[in-house]
């Protein structure tokens, strides 16, 4: 890692960008947008977020609050856990633990910085990662391994049995930084009694582990608050997703990113609910006017990403979709599978979860069920075409949102989706949905530039006559 990178605290740098961006909207519109010409490195990303109005401002304020919580955790007597993105953070609140959700923090860096997180990605390789490992972890983790971020107290991983590359990164971090490690392990099935029992045992193991690390017991009152708030969030999210079924979709494409970011960072907390309420308000307003969620109010095509979104390139993919009047209908990262989800119909209901605040046991079971259905944990645990896994969930989303085309973009580290995307794309094509596999890396623009990916999508849309 270059010397100059070692001089700055990573968390603090990300937080200060987000903080000042979140303030920009507090002044007049002219002041806010006038500021952008002084911030060429962050302009595209911040502008894309703030163009959405109140939801974007609330999102930036939420991220600012979150990063401040990380930065001040130790001085406030709280422990810090390094977590996977697909780890419902609500469970840590009643345990008085602040999570560093690694992949969302990487996303912040790659989305906000003109040159992405190349130095941090490379640093992981310098200390021993394979260069083929997943960039979603390697980005921010490079900073933590180099001691340029808040030092976590322990590591919690919810991707064992789901993604080896992800699990390897967390396991490596634990060994390298000499931190205690707990893994939630997903068996290959989901809805049978054996899998349910396994998950519930595993989840209680997690609670015991965290209690041991913090010396604090689970606060049941706070747990109930989390359960109730999660339920509320899920209902709002489902309503927004329901609106996405309309043609045109009144939901701005970037709201999908906001939704899962809010869930990953503050699932079960009021601050995330406020963003969702705001997004719902905007979407309903658009729906009432018969407008699409795009800036022009028009919809010329509908896109669904079968895996993740493309986060590098300062959120320009969302701006480009918007410019092209393409409604972006989300990706696998939006698939949380609460019971009222519009895509959870018929037999697929079995794969959902509910929040039951009756007593401690039902609350823990609810969270264990939720945790076992987090994006990727649910879909990538077994054969791609087994019930409740990648193919069935993709088909459910296609039937629900009726995209005119599908996209695959992932990371070079993703053995699972790269292992089956060619056959999944064959299945979606058989359904009549043109599907484009993009070779790129969602967190590392050095693999393929956004401009090159954009041109490929553009060509695909022309060749397949999706956009005339």
């Amino acid at each position: 890692m270059r010397k100059e990178y070692r001089e700055y605290h990573f968390d603090r740098m990300v937080q200060s960008i987000i903080h000042f961006a979140s303030l920009s909207y507090d002044g007049t519109h002219k002041e806010g947008f006038g500021m952008f010409r002084y911030a060429p490195r962050f302009r595209d990303a911040i502008q894309t977020i703030l163009m959405t109005g109140e939801p974007g401002v609330l999102l930036l304020k939420m991220i600012d609050t979150y990063l401040i919580e990380i930065l001040t955790a130790h001085e406030n007597g709280k422990k810090v856990a390094l977590c996977t993105f697909n780890f419902s953070p609500g469970v840590l609140k009643p345990l008085d633990v602040v999570p560093i959700c690694l992949e969302p923090v990487t996303t912040l860096g790659v989305a906000m910085w003109l040159r992405g997180l190349g130095e941090y990605l490379n640093y992981c390789c310098e200390v021993g990662f394979t260069e083929t490992s997943c960039s979603a972890q390697r980005g921010a983790l490079g900073a933590y391994l180099a001691g340029l971020g808040v030092r976590p107290d322990f590591v919690l991983c919810n991707s064992i049995g789901v993604c080896d590359t992800n699990a390897t990164a967390f396991n490596f971090a634990a060994e390298y930084l000499e931190l205690p490690f707990y893994q939630l392990n997903a068996p290959p099935t989901l809805v049978d009694e054996r899998a349910r029992t396994y998950h519930r045992h595993d989840f209680r193991g997690l609670i015991s582990f965290v209690e041991e690390q913090t010396g604090k017991n689970l606060d049941c009152d706070l747990l109930r608050e989390v359960i109730v708030e999660t339920d509320k969030q899920d209902e709002i999210m489902c309503e927004i997703e329901d609106l996405m079924r309309l043609t045109p979709s009144p939901v701005p494409g970037i709201f999908n990113l906001f939704m899962y970011s809010a869930k990953y960072i503050y699932g079960g907390s009021r601050v995330a609910t406020e963003i969702m309420e705001s997004m719902l308000k905007v979407s309903k307003h658009n729906a009432a006017q018969g407008r699409a969620g795009t800036t022009s109010g028009k919809e010329e095509a509908r896109a669904f990403s079968v895996y993740v979104d493309h986060y590098s390139a300062q959120l320009r993919p969302w701006a480009w979709f918007d410019e092209k009047n393409i409604s972006h209908l989300g990706c696998m990262m939006n698939g949380f599978w609460p019971v009222h989800a519009p895509y959870a119909t018929g037999d697929l209901k079995e794969g959902t979860y509910t929040m039951d605040p009756t007593n401690e046991e039902t609350m823990l079971d609810s969270l264990a069920d939720q945790m076992s259905r987090m994006p990727m944990v649910k879909q990538i645990r077994g054969p791609y075409d087994d019930p409740h896994q990648w193919l069935t969930d993709t088909v459910a989303s296609i039937k629900t949102y009726k995209p005119t085309f599908c996209l695959y973009t992932g990371t070079i580290g993703c053995r699972n989706t790269w292992g089956s995307i060619k056959i999944l794309a064959r299945d979606t094509e058989k359904m009549g949905i043109p599907t484009l596999i993009l070779f790129g890396d969602a967190f590392d623009h050095r693999i393929t530039s956004w401009e090159s990916m954009r041109d490929r999508i553009d060509e695909f849309l022309t060749v397949r006559r999706i956009l005339e």
């Binding site: 200390v127 021993g128 990662f129 394979t130 083929t132 490992s133 997943c134 991983c157 064992i160 049995g161 993604c163 080896d164 590359t165 699990a167 390897t168 990164a169 967390f170 396991n171 490596f172 634990a174 060994e175 390298y176 490690f181 707990y182 893994q183 392990n185 068996p187 290959p188 099935t189 054996r194 029992t197 396994y198 045992h201 595993d202 193991g205 077994g382 054969p383 791609y384 075409d385 087994d386 070079i412 580290g413 993703c414 053995r415 699972n416 989706t417 790269w418 292992g419 089956s420 995307i421 060619k422 056959i423 064959r426 070779f439």
Partner: protein, 379 residues
């Protein structure tokens, strides 16, 4: 005797499998050292560990797998697509690692377009990634389901005594292979690393009782051997799955001698015995879940390091070669931890990334091994 083992190790099928099939008996393939061969064997079937040896391209595999996948399952899929695995009557696939577990759907889809077949009997065997009471209970149940599905598909009944007999036979192999390991630890090593690898690999490719008999004779012969190789740097080979004896030959051609390994096709395949008393299913599940661990078992690095240190001490190892197949992040990343910790103990390490089978870059690997050996010899 050694020639027989070399023949088995360097070809996909072999005369023992051919003979077995001629007798009208059936063969079940498996992809990972976490599959309990005792279950297959107790049912009167031949357990056969699948390999990619002999693949000369990955053209079929590349049609289904994406570009950033380990070449080991790609070579297996290539052979399956070409029909080389048509002798299998069944297959057990596991979440050994992400690349190998994707073989399940890729193989199923590949046979729709290629001339190979997918065995009528196939099971996705869910091996947990941690050792706890509840994961063991899951695994016992999973193993019971596996046994029942074998019984149902092949129309066989497996009694507890059959399982106990199988445990005894497989334990016998493990004990004999441990004995071979001790012989390799001698100052005058009676067998090269390449030949020893061939011997170990053969265990998963022929009837086990017959294997035990031949191995017993070989061990007696090696034990009494007055000759032996000495004066060469003693090496331990670790990392990703390796069933390619030519890789070991390549290492040994640089002047070293592989006297130990921690590979899943090597010492990890025979470490730890299953209990011979009590409930045989529980005993099998216990042995396979908690036997010397693959990095797929996350959170157990220290145990793996301890195992490697024990092997290093026992075999008087002077240098360690830590290899991983490209895109094998589990071994690749863990190798760097091993390198850090072993070198801190004064044990020189070489970390290399390679391809499997037809893609292997012999010249590059040889150059790096030569350089490592030069360093060892100078030190």
């Amino acid at each position: 005797m050694l020639k027989g083992f070399q023949d088995i190790a360097t070809s996909l099928s072999n005369r023992f499998v051919d003979q077995w099939k001629r007798e009208g008996k059936q063969v079940v393939g498996f992809t990972c050292s976490y599959v309990p061969e005792e279950i297959i064997s107790a049912a009167g079937l031949l357990p056969f560990r699948m390999r990619g040896i002999g693949a000369t391209s990955t053209s079929i595999a590349d049609t289904y797998f994406g570009p950033v996948i380990c070449s080991f399952p790609k070579c297996i899929l290539q052979l399956a697509g070409e029909g080389a695995y048509d002798f299998l009557d069944g297959v057990i696939l596991t979440p050994g690692c992400d690349s190998i577990r994707r073989l399940d759907e890729c193989w199923r889809k590949a046979v729709e377009d290629s001339r190979g077949t997918f065995p009528g009997f196939h099971v996705y065997y869910g091996v947990p990634h941690k050792v706890t009471q509840y994961s063991l209970e899951w695994f016992v149940e999973e193993t019971k389901i596996l046994l029942e599905s074998i019984e149902e598909y092949f129309g066989i009944t497996v009694a507890s005594e059959d399982l106990r007999d199988a445990i005894r036979v497989f334990n016998r192999s493990r004990t004999l292979l441990k004995r071979l390991e001790e012989l390799r630890s001698r100052e005058h090593v009676p067998i090269t690393g390449a030949d020893a690898t061939a011997v170990i690999i053969s265990a998963n490719a022929m009837p086990r009782d017959l294997y035990n008999r031949i191995l017993e004779d070989l061990i007696d012969e090696l034990d009494q051997s007055k000759d032996g190789i000495h004066g060469r740097k003693r090496l331990l080979l670790s990392g990703s799955a390796n069933d390619d004896i030519d890789l070991v030959r390549l290492i040994e051609s640089s002047g070293g001698m592989v006297v130990a390994d921690t590979l899943c096709f090597g010492s990890r395949s025979y470490s730890d015995l299953a209990e011979e008393d009590g409930d045989p299913l529980l005993s099998i599940a216990k042995r396979y879940l908690s036997h010397t661990m693959c990095p797929r078992m996350f959170g157990y690095y220290k145990q793996r390091l301890a195992f490697m240190k024990e092997r290093i001490q026992q075999a008087n190892v002077q240098g360690v070669i830590l290899q991983n197949i490209r895109f094998c992040d589990m071994h690749g990343s863990e190798n760097s931890l091993f390198e850090r910790d072993l070198e801190a103990m004064g044990i020189p390490c070489l970390r290399i990334e390679r391809e499997y089978g037809p893609l292997v870059e012999e010249g590059r690997i040889k150059m790096r091994i030569d350089a490592f050996m030069e360093g060892l010899n100078a030190g």
